[in-house]
Each structure stands twice: as structure tokens, then as C-alpha cells.
Symmetry: D2
Subunit: 359 residues, 4 copies
């Protein structure tokens, strides 16, 4: 198979850098164009990520992938869509709407922004969870008279919740879910991102709009595609989202009420089975285990879980019956907000959509 030619929009920012890293030596995709703001256009990538004092802002750590170092950064307008098969958009939400609209006219666009998430003909896709909703992309294309489509990822806090709820919802019927998150600093972005004066030895108990996003997105992701639209899942979702002094990875404390009786042993069997049947198993960016289920009560711990599956595995622990409800479960989860919840998750989505023939 010839590699698909992809562009990264917003390639110099934090999410853009994750795309750059996730696409290094990719077996199916090759980055042929990169674009960023006017300020960066016309520079080599290495120079575009330098700050005013000449310091290179490759903030993921480790080495910058050699393939990108000398690639020339274009302005958004200079991107040549005729030479592309796919676009990854790491554009920040304000500008994302217009730019993604423009590119979707010609090409598939996979995005980490929220610009299109809440449109009726746009699915919010998590590869391995609601792949069947991808068919809505065909409707979208037709509706809008585009040659491409826009497929957004969910908010990174929704990701872990929806991933862990999905098998429970399907098999035991989840009715209500109460979640408290302890979110990582990196979720607040860079430049400037979260201020150290605010978060050191502190908790910020509020992240604007986050709880509403989790509620709406979870219901849509767990919903069913029917007659060209998604019927939201009939589940009540209540979230309290907080920021804690953790670098990477979101931890969430979840209590879920189910229709049918569930207990830790059934949950373990369920996630084991889900691992075996994972629809993304074997894809280049998929982890060996989609779920890691721990009986050791000291897991999940952010520092221990981050490297598991290169950040693409979702960890579940502290699983117990939830006695508040007639039937239900409580558990804690860990989801890597900069990997499965961001750039590398988007690349896995592209792999799934390519395999499905959507790209």
C-alpha cells in the first residue's frame, strides 16, 4: 500500500508536536506538508518552534523526529490540498471552525478541536469504542456537499470515561454516572498554560465548560447511529472536574448505576473480553492491551500508568460494588490526556477509518 499523504495543521503547538511525534516512521501515513500561523510560515520546523531568544520549544522531551526538523512550515493558505489524502488539525478552537470547514470541502479532516463536535451530522469518535458511528461521516459529506468530512476526537476528559463505560453500558445497561476528575496540568495547554503559582501544592476545583462537555459528549459517544443520526445514550452523567498538580494523565473516580447486577469479577471478565475483541487490535498505534484492569488497590497511579501501552492503554482499578445503587460499580480510571486523549489517539482514529475504507 502506498502511504497516505497527510498534513498537520497547527504543527508547531503542543498538540501539533504530539502529531509530529505520533506520525514518525508511521507505516501508513507520511507527513508531506505542515502548516501553522503566519508567524511560523516560511521557516523550517526547527526554527518555527524557537522562541524569541532562540531556544527550541520541543516540549514533549526526547529528540525532535529528524523527518520534521528541516521541513518548511507553510501558512494555512499555502497548503496544497491536491497533494494530500488526509489532514490532521491541531488548530485551537477559535480558528478551528473556519479552517476545518475549508479543508473538509476537499479532504477528510481529523481534529482534536471542539469546533464540530456538537453538530448533528458529526460523530465524536473514539477508535475501539464507537467505530460504527463513523458511517455518519458519509451522511455529513453528503449533507454538506463536501468531498471530505470532519471527524473530531472528544475532550480528553471524556475519553477515559467513555472508554470505560462503553462495555458496561452495552452489557449491564448504565443509567447514571457520577464522576470526579483529577486532571493533569498538561491538559491546560502551554503558552502560557497552567500557572505554577496556581497549581503548586494546590487544587483548582474548576475547569470552565469541562463538565458540560463530558456530559454531552459521553451521551453522544455511547449513543446509537440510526437513520443518519445519533440517538444519545439514555444515561445521566454528572461530572466535577478539577485540576491537580500532576504533569500528565487524567485520573477519574467513577460511580455508575447499572440496570443489571455487576460486581468486580464480572467487570474483570468484561474488560478481558473487551481486550480480546478490540476492534482496533493490531492497528499501528493501538496498544497491546486496550484496557489494563488492576486488582492491586494502589492502582491506577499516574506515574506508573503513563508509559503503559505508550499512553494508549486505559487503566481501571479500585473496582468495587457501588452500594448507593441497587446495581452498580465504582472504580477509578487513568487515561493519558496527551496520548490516547490527543494526537496519538487521533492517529489511531485515522488508522481505524482507513481500515474501514472511509479515507
Amino acid at each position: 500500500m502506498e502511504k497516505k499523504r497527510v498534513a498537520i495543521l497547527g504543527a508547531t503547538g503542543a498538540v501539533g508536536q504530539e502529531f509530529v511525534q505520533s506520525l514518525e516512521d508511521h507505516p501508513w501515513f507520511t507527513v508531506t506538508q505542515i502548516a501553522a500561523s503566519e508567524r511560523s510560515a516560511g521557516k523550517k520546523y526547527i526554527d518555527a518552534i524557537r522562541d524569541d531568544s532562540g531556544i527550541v520549544g520541543w516540549e514533549i522531551g526526547g529528540e525532535i523526529p529528524p523527518y520534521i526538523t528541516d521541513m518548511m512550515v507553510k501558512s494555512i493558505d499555502q497548503v496544497d490540498v491536491s497533494q494530500l489524502d488526509l489532514v490532521f488539525s491541531a488548530i485551537e478552537s477559535g480558528a478551528a471552525r473556519d479552517i476545518e470547514t475549508k479543508f473538509a470541502a476537499d479532504l477528510p479532516v481529523i481534529s482534536t478541536s471542539s469546533a464540530y463536535r456538537y453538530e448533528e451530522d458529526v460523530p465524536i469518535l473514539i477508535p475501539g469504542i464507537n467505530d460504527e458511528q463513523a458511517d455518519l461521516l458519509d451522511t455529513q459529506k453528503k449533507n454538506r456537499n463536501w468531498k471530505g468530512w470532519v471527524a473530531p476526537l472528544p475532550n480528553c476528559t471524556t475519553t477515559g470515561l467513555a472508554i470505560t463505560l462503553k462495555p458496561i453500558y452495552e452489557k449491564y445497561g448504565a443509567k447514571k454516572v457520577r464522576m470526579t476528575s483529577m486532571q493533569a496540568i498538561s491538559g491546560g495547554g502551554r503558552s502560557p498554560g497552567v500557572s505554577a503559582m496556581n497549581i503548586t501544592d494546590n487544587i483548582i476545583p474548576y475547569i470552565p465548560k469541562e463538565e458540560e462537555k463530558v456530559r454531552i459528549e459521553t451521551r453522544k459517544i455511547l449513543g446509537k447511529l440510526k437513520d443518519g443520526k445519533i440517538i444519545d445514550a439514555d444515561i445521566k452523567v454528572s461530572a466535577t472536574c478539577t485540576r491537580v498538580p500532576i504533569l500528565d494523565g487524567h485520573t477519574e473516580s467513577v460511580a455508575v448505576e447499572t440496570e443489571d447486577e455487576i460486581d468486580p469479577a464480572k467487570a474483570k471478565a468484561l474488560f478481558d473480553e473487551s481486550n480480546r475483541n478490540s476492534s482496533v487490535a493490531g492497528l499501528p498505534s493501538a496498544p497491546d492491551e486496550y484496557y489494563a484492569f488492576h486488582e492491586d488497590p494502589t492502582r491506577p497511579q499516574p506515574r506508573l500508568e503513563r508509559p503503559v501501552g505508550d499512553g494508549m492503554t486505559t487503566t481501571i482499578g479500585r473496582v468495587e460494588k457501588e452500594d448507593l445503587f441497587d446495581n452498580g460499580l465504582k472504580y477509578m480510571l487513568f487515561s493519558h490526556n496527551k496520548k490516547m486523549g490527543s494526537g496519538k489517539g487521533a492517529v489511531l482514529l485515522a488508522e481505524m477509518l482507513l481500515k474501514k475504507g472511509k479515507i
Copy 2:
């Protein structure tokens, strides 16, 4: 009034040091004896808290109260109960049972340990919350044929939850509560306490026995004293307790289902009223405001709340209707685990009991 003569048992440990500080220049109590392990007995306090290399372990920060510096530390056996009116026990739980039993034969004992918390004739008292349960101390005294009694504080994680639930429970009828805590490092004690390798940039999702303590203690504290025993409150409590990299002060995310309709405005009025009617108002260790209620969604924050009311005020914020339930509220609270939840809380309890004539 002549000052009551008090002893501090376990005066050299972390909780003992809080007692030392909370009792400095106290208008009602004067520390006349201090006791600790054999290792410390016979030394001046300042020498007893030195480590092997001669370094003074006054770990609260600030200056050691001058009144205690040269006071001689006794062994537990050397304490002269005939010269005392009251004992504060900061003994760690293993040894606490026997020692508190011995002292209660002669004297009132106020304790931070869990040794007696779950006995039928022992109330778990939070001053300002369930003062009326103090009458059970008379029963206890009679039952056991003691001249004194033991009055334990709750676990520090229960403290904030019970304090905030109490007015809601009384006025709106709380039926179910779901709580996720983010607890401070200082709750894990010292020597060695929580390891920096475990908690830096990390969350430990499990604190042994904590969730069970919160469940049992909350029901007892909110219960009613009737015919010489406490009828537990009819409320389901589910807790997930975690340790986060915060020095002092526990933050809790709470969702509570109520019998009657409640909303943020009603909650604000309720806590305002509770402040006005606080039974501990005016006591020497009581804060100006028992509750701090914030409409600013970025509160509570541990670093900002710690100094409020010198750690004796409980903070409530992020108050919203909880849509999971027909009637209910969600909110976040902050409670200072080393102040209201520990030594100074015990001193406030002593003040309340003295005022009530129990001491």
C-alpha cells in the same frame, strides 16, 4: 475561672505538637504535664523532639511555644492524674486503647485516635455539629464505672463531610452521599509518613480503611442519641479516598441526594443561618465563620483556604444542583486536616464540653 490543668499524651509526635501549639496561651486550659514514650521520658521537651543528630523536629513550622520548651517529658506511667482535670491523647492507635482506658478511669480523655470511636457508648464528637451526643459520655461513665470518659474526634476525612452534611441532613433530609476525596500528605503522618517518591507528581488512589471509616463515622455523627444510644442516620455513604500531592488540607467532591428540593441559593441561606446559630460561636478556638460559602467557582483551593479561620473554618464551593437525583446537590469542600480535623479541633471540643459542664 481557674484554668483547667491538662496533660498531653504523646506530646512529641506530629499530633502532639499540634496540641502543644493549640494550647499556647489558652484562656481556659493550662498544660501542666506532658508525656511520651520511654525514649523521651526524663528529657526537656526541646530535647525530646531532637533527632539522633541533634536536630529539633518542630515540624509545624514557626517557633516552638516558649511555655513548652523546657517542660520535662514524663513517661505515660509517671503522669499524676490527681493533679489533672483533663487529658488530651495524641497516642497512635495501637497503644491508644490501653492508655486511654487507664486514664478514663480517673479523668476525661479527649482523643484523636480511633481506639474508642466504634464503641456503642462512645460518641464521635465534632464541636458545633453533634454537641447533643455529648450526653452519651454520662452513660459511658456510668456503664464503665469510670470517673472520666473518652471522647474521640472522627477521622480527619469524615470531619469535613459530616460538617457540611449536617445542616443539609437536618433541613432537607440527606439519603445518599457519594464522595471522592483528595487528601493531603500530612494526613499520612510523619516518621516516615508518605514517601516523596510515591506522591510527587502522582496520586495514590487508596488509603487503607479510610473509606469504611468515613461511612461508619458519618452515619454515627449524623445520628440521634436516644435512650442512651446513638441511632445511626439513615443515609447511604459511599467514599473513594485518594492521596494527592498537597501538603495540608483535605478537598472532597460530594454529591448528595436529598428528600426535599434544594438548590445553591437555599444552600447558601442554610449555611449562612448555620453560621449565625453555631453552637461553638465565641469559644476560644472557634473561627469567626464556621462555614465559608463561595460563589466564586474557583474555590475551594487548598492554598487559599488553609489560613481561613486558622484552619477551623470549613469551606464550601462549586455548589450546584445534582441532576442525577430527583433532589440533590453537588459541591466541593475543604477541611484542614491538621487543624479542625486534629489537635485544634480536639481543643475546641474540650471547650464545648467544658461549657456544657461535662468537664
Copy 3:
């Protein structure tokens, strides 16, 4: 004595808030006017420090002093100098030059900015260290044909170094000093200040221009005023300045070569004597002890030293002979960058200058 009427310029920023706090209930000064940018002008202080979402940005913690809450914020242009005796400037360096120039034409200006520090007729004053250089303010006034003058504080990293070197320099003749700093996050300001992604679990080994400032300012502060100008001290200063994940307070590791023999015992005697003879002793903002000298090798520790003397005491510990040099000493110091090194230090400077009759 009637209180002097003072204005705070830049009252809404981080340094401005320190001035607001340091001047609460001040016995000699009363804040009668406050000014900030156009964006804040015309608002009450409490409203001027709200952010776009209505959240109050009183970031020092604790309560906002009631005296300031409803005071109206003026624009810089609206300040009425005819009703003032003194101005405190917390203006950031870019704009400080012009604004301070304008006010100095009419009034004494005490500033935390670097705008005027390196002018020949401007002393860099640390109260208690180089008070005699204050006479240069008269020269400055005359030179510039002003009614007032500008008196800047040094950079907060210079503060602790100069304070501890001064007695050594005077008595034992310091020739060379090598310093490595571990500076607090709060030194990087707010909005946005240091990014949590950069400093959590990390050290930033570079603070632009800081080392040069320390070098130049230390030599000037230790210098002698002669014939209307300051002759820099003949001391070589080499500094390496780093940022570490500490909220408040700068720690510095110092090695100093002296002319004459010095050892820890002599150093202790020297700082004891300096405490007894402190020129600022008894001033309202001065600490009980100007220097805290520790023989306990585990001091200074930022968390323990911050509250000492309400941040106005400079701590010295780990004092040993420096064997690299024929004569010399090594030690560590702690200086509170947001107190003695900033707003409250500036207020102490004002007190000293008032006592000296310069205001």
C-alpha cells in the same frame, strides 16, 4: 505625627497587592490613592482585580484588607500629587521609567522596578544595609531639578546576598563571592508567570539577565558614597541563578573569600552583633531579628523560614570555613522574595527614609 499620605502605582498586580497588604493598618502611612492601568481605572479595587469571569484575583491568600476593597482605582494620569507625600511604584519595568520620572518631579518615589537602579545618582537601597547611601537621593534631587527622587529596591535575588555579605565585607573584607541560587516560582511573576509544565518536577537553570543584575547591584550596594557618587565595592561576584519548584523564598549557596580569617564562630558573633546594632530595629515593618543564624545543619529550609519575622528576617545556615580559599566562608541563605525582597521591603525602606528625614 500625622500619617503620610501615600499612593500605590500598579496596585492591582502581584507586587501591588503586596504593597496593599504591607500597608494595612500602617502606623505611619495611609493609602489615599491607588492607580493602575486604564483597564482598571474607574473601578473599585475589588472589581479591578476580578478577571473576565468575575473571579477575584487576590493571590496572596488570606483576606483582602478591608480598607482597600472599595477604594476607587485611578488611572496613572488621574493621581493627584498635590494630595500625596510619597508614592510606592509597583509598575512593571517597561513602563516604569516614564511614570516614575513623572512622579519624581513632585514627590519621593520608592520602587520595586529596575528602571532607575543603574543610574549614577540613584542608590539601590536595602534598609539596614546601606542606609548611608540614602544621602545620594539629595544629589539626585538637585541634579535632576526634581522635588522628589526615585529610590529603587534591588532585584530580589540580590537582596539576600547583599544582606548577608554586608557585615562580612565590612569586618573581614570580602574579595570574591560565588553564588548559586535556587529561586522561587513567585519570583517569575503572575499573568502568566512561570508555567507549571516547565517547573513541576524540574529545574530551569537560567533566568535571563538575573546573574548580571546580582553582580552589578551587589557591588553598588556594598560600595561607599563619596563626593556625591557611589564607589562600587571591590569584590568579584559570580552568580548562577536557577528556578526550582518552590513557591516562595529564594535559597542561595554562597562561598566568599575574605581578606581576614573568618570561621563559623566568628560569623555567629558577627551576625549577633549585627542584629543588636541593626539600624532598622524598632521600625514598624522590621523583624525582631534581622538575621537568623542556625547551627542546625538542616536550616535554612524555605517552608520553615518563610514565616520567620513575617518574611523580613534573612536566614543563614550551613556556615563552614571555605577551604578553597586562604580565608573564607561558605553558607546558605534564605531570603523571602515577596516580603523583604519586594513590597514589604519597600515599606521598610520608606520607614527608614522617613526616620532619616528624607521624606
Copy 4:
């Protein structure tokens, strides 16, 4: 070549776990026996590292190497030296002396403990730095009438200093060095290790004995082997060692006085040349680059440097002329205390000694 059979003594502790990890799939060594305290003896490794509550203490993160999981842990006495070619000792210093003596009678012992470091016939070896001192092992063997020898690594704080000084010392003649360290929490060990209450938002300015170790070891490592003994380098070393809230990796601020003129450009050339000529280049545990030299003034940063060369590369940055001295340099270095400074460094040492024919 047949793989050498090695044992790990103290295999269950923090350093022992590093050995386990560093020897996974090693091309030259195969772990055939592991030993620990009586408490662990007779258990599978996976069970030996469980704590009382059954939780696995694999604290390096990531997965436990499968080769070790079910290997049976022996007591020290049960180790069969007749089936071994080499022993790695991760024994803590108290017991290390006797145990290493016992094993050295039969076998080469490579150790991370300080037990033998200061003996006249024992070199302190850093592979790539003072390989020629390995000849002293032959003398040691003969002196002591052993079949083996003991080869200890230096203290982890010495490691980075000696590694960076070596080329400067050889080419430019270092006379004096002043170093201030900012050391990682992990250097304080585990169980209990550094207390989070002590180090969070804090600096501990003192690490017992550390400064003396750095002084003595650096002079020995830079010394010359002559007539069967090491003549210490004629260099004065002064160190101030502090603990900072950083998980892994020691940062050091260094000023060195040299005989001959040196500047940043010469230093860069020197370290480039040292990289090209590295005596350990190509060994299985050696990094691609022994030294990483940065002109970007924001390096080294612990979080960015840790993964470089899998922790085996030493980073140098902030290189400037040191104006305090006639000739000299100042710089900052980063050295990974749990990799090059510990288990993996010991494995690299074994590789070097095997290549040299000492094993």
C-alpha cells in the same frame, strides 16, 4: 562468547531493581542467582517484592522483566559461588562490608555501596573516566589473597562532577572546584526514603556526609595509578549538597579554576573530542553520546535530560568563563543518579572490566 553468569545481591531493594532492569536481555551477562534478606529468601521474586498487603513494589515503573518474575530469591548464604562469574552487590552500606568481603574471596564483586571505596587498594571506577585505575584490582586481589576483588562505583553525586571534570582536568589542569548540588529525591532511597512532608515545596540544605564523599572521591577518581597505588589529584574540591523536589537526576552548579585558559568554545571542542574518543563507546550499556553539550542556556533541565541516552549521558550547559578566577569555567551539569550513577552504571563498569579482561 558464552554469557557470564551473574548474581544480584540485594535484588529486591531499589538499587537491586535497577540491576534487574539493566540486565534484562543483556548480551554478555545472564542473571542466574538472586539473593536478598532472610525475609525474602525462598520466595519467587514477584512475591518477595510484595508488601504486607500483597501489593507489588516494582517501583521503577513499567513492567517487571519477565525473566525475573518467577526466579527464586536465595538468602545471601545460599548463593552458590561455584556457579557464578561475577556478583553485583546492591547491599546497603551497613551489611555490605562483610558480605562483599566474603564474595570477593571467590569472585569479582561490583558494588554500589561505599563499604570499600576508601581503601588504598580499591579504585573507585567510572567507566569511561578512569578505566586505567582498574589495574589496581590486580594489586587488591594479590594483597588480600582473594580470587576476586571489589570494584565500587562512586557516590551518585560524585559521578557527574568527576565525569565532567575529567577532560578539563587532563587538558586544562583543574586546581579548584566549587560545586552546589540540587539532588533528586530518589537519591534518598526508599523504605522510607525522603518524606514528602519534608521535601514538598521545600529544599533540604544538608545531606549527611555527602560533601565529604564528593571531595574525597573526586580527588581519587581524577588521580593517577602509580606503583600500585592511586595518587590523588591535586585539586581542591568544595561542595554544598542539597535535596530539592525533583524525582530523578542530580543537577550541579560548578565553578572550576584551571591552570590554562579555557572558554566555552574550547570546552565544547573538548567534550566533542571526548565523545569521539570515549573508551566505553560501543559497549552494550553505553549511550550514543557520553556527553551532551548544550549552548541553549535553558539546559540542562532534569525532565528533559533524564531520557537522553537512557540516563547514561551526562549533560553540560550554561558554560561560561568564570571571572572569579584568572582562568576557569562555570557550568551546570545533569547526571542521572538512578542510571549512570547507580545500577546501570555498574553494569557498564562490568562491561568495561570484561572487555579489559579483568573478569
